[in-house]
């Protein structure tokens, strides 16, 4: 019988600290598989965010830097500018990337920095206990929006993939999900494409991943997936928002 489960070389043996049913673990695995498949572990540098994934470096087996909250794209820029031969990616949550780090991600994308961003959108500040994020859905209850997000007061949730796609600089921008196997297969393809573009020295790439936070949503892992499918996917539409090839055809 063929072995069906083998840990990627790029993943360490350490058990993760993530809550049961949290999608961070799946995303780590996808990134690790892609790094293995592309054979780039020895020249990859990951940047962990401030958020639940701050300790991501414990679960990977290549070089890592831990950035200040939201600054991962600036840190990645620093690395990639002085060492263009390294493969660099940031791993960021929605509070990290779409709130405090909005300036850094937009400008790195707009300069066309040749690194990859894995953007984990779970609609809340997971690590600090489930406060409202820029991506929190209209009416969604969080610890700082107990009556539900009031868009009259704080505006509509930010759609990062669309926002960054509005920039002219060639980029690979896609939104995928990691809710069920059928989505995960597509998410992995997108992550692989993003790293491939970087390997070819082509462009900045961002893979937004619709994710879950069962703990702070107050749902079971299974309920979380249903909730995300029913509530997130209609607003955060999946698809390829921009590819470098299209830009070249213009």
């Amino acid at each position: 019988m063929a072995k069906t489960f083998k840990k990627p070389e790029a993943l360490s043996d350490q058990p993760t600290h993530y809550c049961p049913g949290c999608t961070h673990g799946i995303i780590h695995r996808l990134v690790a598989e892609v790094i293995d498949e592309l054979g780039i572990r020895g020249r990859t540098v990951g940047i962990s965010p401030v958020g639940c994934a701050v300790l991501a470096y414990n679960y990977f087996t290549f070089d890592f830097q831990e950035a200040a909250h939201g600054r991962a794209p600036a840190v990645a820029t620093g690395i990639k500018r002085v060492r263009p031969d390294l493969i660099v990616f940031t791993y960021q949550g929605d509070g990290d990337l779409a709130s405090i780090g909005m300036g850094e991600i937009i400008h790195a994308a707009n300069r066309g920095e040749k690194f990859t961003t894995i953007f984990v959108n779970n609609t809340v500040y997971g690590m600090t206990g489930g406060q409202m994020a820029p991506t929190t859905l209209q009416g969604q209850r969080t610890t700082t929006s107990p009556a539900g997000r009031n868009v009259e007061e704080v505006g509509m949730p930010v759609k990062m993939a669309e926002l960054i796609s509005a920039l002219e600089t060639p980029a690979y921008i896609t939104r995928q999900a990691v809710l069920k196997p059928k989505y995960v297969v597509r998410a992995k393809k997108a992550i692989k494409k993003a790293f491939q573009y970087q390997l070819e020295g082509r462009c900045f790439s961002l893979v937004e991943l619709v994710s879950t936070c069962p703990t702070n949503w107050g749902l079971t892992p299974v309920e979380s997936i249903t909730w995300a499918e029913e509530n997130m996917l209609p607003y955060f539409k999946l698809g390829e928002y921009k590819t470098p090839d299209e830009v070249e055809e213009d």
Binding site: I47, Q65, E66
Partner: protein, 355 residues
């Protein structure tokens, strides 16, 4: 190579290149934007990296990334910009990364003004960012000295794996003076394979490197802070630099002054000497570590009645001078913070008022 006439800001940019630093990230701000303008032309000529970032917040974190993967990097800015970089300076200090910062200080607080100032003494020597960290801070009093300090800053930053700051002011940045770039101060970047995230293939290792500042465990964070403290203590032992002036006389007043202000004090000491009144000066060249011992010793000379701190701010270094003198002599202060540098006549009046 002989001397050439150069503006301070351009000389600082050239000094970094001559020191062997080919990576520069910055954001424009008066009175030091000429460094970025100069390096936007020079870095491509020498195959280096020049990047104008979107903010000083980004600059600081770009330096973190670049230094973290083993590159020699630096930036230049002025006061409000350094405030924004203070976040990254704290992280850089904790992650123990060698980075050189040049602050061409302008008046503050807030937007303040664009004229010369030394109002960032506290920010540079006592923090600015959060946490227990120290920068090694050097204060030049001439364009030539700025060049030499920039060139020395890189090996020092690497020796301690700690950020080094050059604290200049608008006058040092804007002034034209003859300079020479001492060939012997060029240094090769040190080997950083033990810790830098330069890629496992690069260092032919299968062990990942990690650049970080998070220590959730109390014992580990304590241990980390003790490692940092040991470095700062070692700096106090090994890196104190100062210059003394007119010390072999029976001076009645000891002046402590640094940077641009100390140039005025030299003239003051010469003029007072001509009037038959001896004063002397200690000019700290490192603000951290501070020349505490030499200042105390100089203050204790029998002829010395008072210690006078002169600085371009509302009284910051004077706290370190008081700490050094330890109550053995009265410590006075005079300074201006608006951007006008006191004239020698003004300073002489002040000194005489203490007698």
């Amino acid at each position: 190579m002989g001397k050439i006439l150069m503006k301070g800001n351009e000389a600082i940019g050239e000094a970094a290149i001559r020191a062997g630093c080919l990576n520069y990230f910055a954001y424009p701000i008066t009175p030091q934007s000429e460094v970025a303008e100069y390096l936007s032309r020079r870095m491509p000529e020498v195959g280096g990296v020049f990047l104008q970032a979107e903010s000083e917040i980004a600059v600081g974190n770009m330096l973190f990334g670049a230094a973290g993967c083993g590159a020699r990097v630096f930036t230049t800015s002025s006061s409000p910009g350094i405030s924004l970089m203070s976040e990254a300076i704290s992280y850089i200090s904790s992650a123990q990364l060698p980075v050189v910062f040049v602050n061409i200080v302008r008046g503050g607080p807030g937007l303040g003004g664009i004229l010369p100032s030394q109002a960032d003494y506290f920010q540079a020597t006592k923090g600015g960012g959060h946490g227990d960290y120290r920068l090694l801070v050097m204060a030049p009093a001439s364009v030539q000295e700025a060049v030499e300090m920039v060139m020395k800053a890189f090996p020092l930053a690497e020796k301690y794996r700690n950020p080094v700051m050059i604290l200049g002011d608008g006058l040092i940045g804007q002034m034209m003076e003859p300079v020479e770039f001492p060939e012997h101060l060029r240094s090769e970047p040190s080997n950083k394979d033990d810790w830098a995230t330069n890629g496992m293939d690069t260092r032919k290792s299968s062990k990942p490197n990690l650049v970080k500042s998070l220590f959730l465990n109390a014992e580990l964070l304590e241990e980390h802070n003790l490692v940092l403290k040991a470095k700062y203590d070692r700096m106090k032992q090994e890196e104190v630099r100062y210059e003394s002036y007119n010390m072999d006389t029976d001076y009645q007043a000891l002046i402590v002054s640094f940077g641009t202000m100390s140039r005025v004090c030299r003239t003051v000491i010469d003029n007072l000497k001509a009037q038959g009144f001896e004063t002397a000066m200690i000019r700290p060249q490192t603000l951290f570590p501070f020349p505490e011992g030499p200042i105390k010793q100089a203050a204790l000379k029998e002829s010395c009645k008072v210690v006078i701190t002169l600085e371009l701010n509302m009284g910051q270094m004077v706290e370190d001078v008081e700490r050094s003198v330890q109550g053995n002599r009265p410590v006075h202060w005079y300074g201006k913070a608006g951007g006008d540098v006191p004239t020698p006549e003004e300073v002489i009046e002040v000194i005489k008022s203490f007698f």
